[in-house]
């Protein structure tokens, strides 16, 4: 049965019977076929550009591979990664962003609560806060790189306020490099957090607040007894995207701000995969093994988060 026929006879069976004058395919059978045909292209694409490459990465993580020639070396890549201590440095760099998350969450929460008071101009503020989020991380990264450069604006201000001891070559020390990176992260994430949390907050019915006021609850009691418990879903969503981002989304930020340096001291896993896979030839097996480790890590982290959210929703 031709594709066109399947699609064009989607109409009611009586009509198609009269057209073809033969026993029509039953409606459900035709629908099933249309259903399968509708999703077929997606799975063709996913197979070629998603499932196959993922399996391929798993396979090549056990090989020495330069993109052309592969030799099976068993677990050597994994042994190298763990015994050289590389993985702990990379993981530390990812974990710093995970640990930075509660800070921006708290800040978003405070700003959201303040915005929800709906003071004059709150709609304008809400719009402005989101602008950095819509920008490319690359734009934010390079912009901050210019502002934090040694002869740049930030140091100039610090000197102006007689804080010369703080004016430094920001990108030459690990700690200050991370301060700039986390500043970029916070600057860009505030708007996202505020919009997500504010949307959750606006969906809490006003009557709940009125009722609790009649019961004599003060502002803080209302915050902890009504507002926060109603925000479990948005908070989980915001946490989930940020924690996941700390493992798989750091690439453009690191690329534009520090380039992974000084040395490898701000290089997270995904940036290292890029370096090993595309910058240093012949290290694709090693990069594949790192990819598999990252994959397993993300699975574990997602699983933990879903378990926690299930607990909280109960």
């Amino acid at each position: 049965m031709a594709l066109y026929e399947v699609l064009s006879t989607y109409s009611c069976p009586v009509r198609s019977q009269s057209i073809y004058g033969v026993e029509p395919m039953s409606l459900t059978k035709r629908e099933k076929l249309i259903g399968l045909l509708s999703i077929l292209p997606i799975f063709l694409f996913l197979s070629v550009f998603f499932y196959y490459p993922t399996l391929n990465t798993f396979f090549h993580s056990f090989t020495k591979w330069d993109g052309l020639n592969e030799t099976w070396i068993g677990l050597k890549n994994y042994r190298d990664i763990f015994s050289s201590g590389d993985v702990w440095l990379l993981l530390r760099n990812n974990m710093i962003f995970v640990l930075a998350y509660p800070g921006i969450f708290l800040f978003c929460m405070i700003v959201t609560v303040l915005l929800h008071e709906q003071v004059a101009g709150w709609r304008f503020f809400r719009s402005v806060f989101y602008i950095p989020t819509i920008l490319s991380t690359v734009v934010v990264g390079f912009l901050m790189k210019v502002m934090f450069s040694y002869d740049g604006t930030v140091n100039q201000w610090l000197r102006m306020f007689k804080l010369d001891f703080l004016a430094t070559t920001w990108f030459d020390q690990t700690v200050t490099a991370f301060i700039v990176l986390i500043f970029c992260y916070y600057w860009q994430t505030l708007g996202q957090g505020v919009l997500i949390l504010l949307a959750g907050m606006s969906s809490i019915p006003e009557e709940m607040y009125d009722a609790s006021k009649i019961d004599g609850a003060n502002w803080w009691q209302r915050l902890f007894q009504i507002t926060l418990p109603s925000l479990v879903q948005p908070i989980f969503y915001f946490t989930f995207i940020n924690v996941t981002w700390a493992f798989i989304g750091l690439f453009p930020l690191i690329y534009s701000v520090t380039g992974g340096g000084p040395g490898y001291s701000t290089t997270p896993i995904d940036f290292m995969i890029y370096i090993k896979g595309f910058m240093q030839n012949g290290e694709m097996g090693y990069a594949s093994a790192l990819s598999v480790i990252l994959f397993i890590l993300v699975m574990i982290v997602s699983w933990i988060q879903f378990r926690v959210s299930e607990r909280l929703s109960e």
Binding site: L7, S8, Y10, S11, E31, I34, L36, S38, I39, I42, F43, F45, L46, V48, F49, F50, Y51, Y52, P53, T54, N56, T57, V111, L115, H116, E117, V119, G121, V128, F129, Y130, I131, I134, L135, S136, V138, V139, F142, S149, T153, Q156, Q192, L195, I196, A199, K213, R222, Y237, I248, F251, P252, Y255, S256, I273, Y274, F278, S288, S291, V292, V298
Partner: protein, 278 residues
């Protein structure tokens, strides 16, 4: 909470706090715009000062030396094509997942959702080799395909959950009127899911416009690069001229900001959908 009439001065303090944050949000952007209109000598003298005159040579340099309009249209072409491809694939699939019963529907849905938890870097090396084997490296098609494929699971997931709420009576009515499958999709399904399609498209478009990794890897010759990639490779590595770099950043940042200003409502609603469906 806002009708509890707290003292006027508390509200003033809240206003002041929000204002300070707004200034912190906007100042770097103004800085980016006005510094892009300075000469590099002026920048070296004082990195924070306003430009003395309206100096547009950095933009002229982008135009004459770096062919910025070509980079701009490269990006636009890739983004628009990727959007078209992903919608053509996503809309029928979402409708099928939402409204058509067929064997293994749940299984296929899970297979698709599962891909959303796999980090993109995990499979990028073999993917690159697949692309080079079929001769698509340094062709726009490679980026268009990769963007569409990686965004499809999320888009279908969101559209499916929205289409489930579509009234069955309407679909039945089209069938009884003798409308075929194409008419059903174009006359009922697409108009009814327009808000969802808009939301998905806006998030994808800005995400793609801002993307670094995919075009960085697949488009290698300078004339094929997207704007975001060109700014972070050519401009940032070949020159220590910060005002010029900032002019490039302004060009890169403008389209997403304009899109945001025009379509804020969809973006806000989109974030809510995410928060509710997560």
């Amino acid at each position: 909470m806002h009708n509890s009439k707290p003292f006027r001065w508390i509200r003033s303090f809240i206003f002041l706090g929000l204002l300070i944050i707004a200034v912190l949000d906007l100042y770097p952007l103004f800085y980016m715009v006005y510094t892009s209109m300075k000469t590099s000598a002026e920048f070296a003298m004082n990195p924070s000062s306003l430009p003395k005159s309206l100096y547009l040579d950095n933009y002229k340099a982008l135009y004459y030396r770096f062919d910025v309009q070509r980079l701009f249209f490269n990006t636009l072409f890739c983004v628009v094509s990727a959007m078209a491809l992903s919608l053509i694939l996503a809309i029928p699939a979402s409708f099928a997942f939402a409204k058509i019963r067929f064997r293994l529907r749940g299984f296929f849905f899970m297979m698709m959702i599962a891909t959303m938890t796999i980090p993109g870097v995990t499979f990028i090396i073999p993917n690159y080799l697949v692309m080079s084997r079929i001769g698509l490296v340094d062709q726009f098609l490679s980026v268009i395909i990769m963007w569409s494929v990686t965004s499809l699971p999320g888009s279908v997931f969101l559209l499916t959950s929205l289409m489930r709420g579509m009234p069955d009576e309407l679909i039945e009515a089209v069938k009884i009127d003798g409308g075929n499958y194409f008419q059903l999709i174009t006359r009922v399904v697409i108009p009814l899911s327009m808000p969802g399609i808009m939301t998905v498209s806006i998030f994808n478009i800005t995400g793609w416009w801002n993307d670094l990794l995919t075009p960085l890897i697949y488009l290698q010759s300078d004339s094929m690069k997207t704007l975001t990639v060109a700014v972070s490779t050519i401009l940032s590595l070949h020159s220590q001229d910060y005002p010029l770099l900032l002019a490039g950043l302004v060009m890169t940042a403008t389209p997403p900001i304009l899109l945001y200003i025009a379509l804020q409502g969809f973006i806000r609603r989109g974030l809510v959908i995410g928060a509710v469906k997560a």
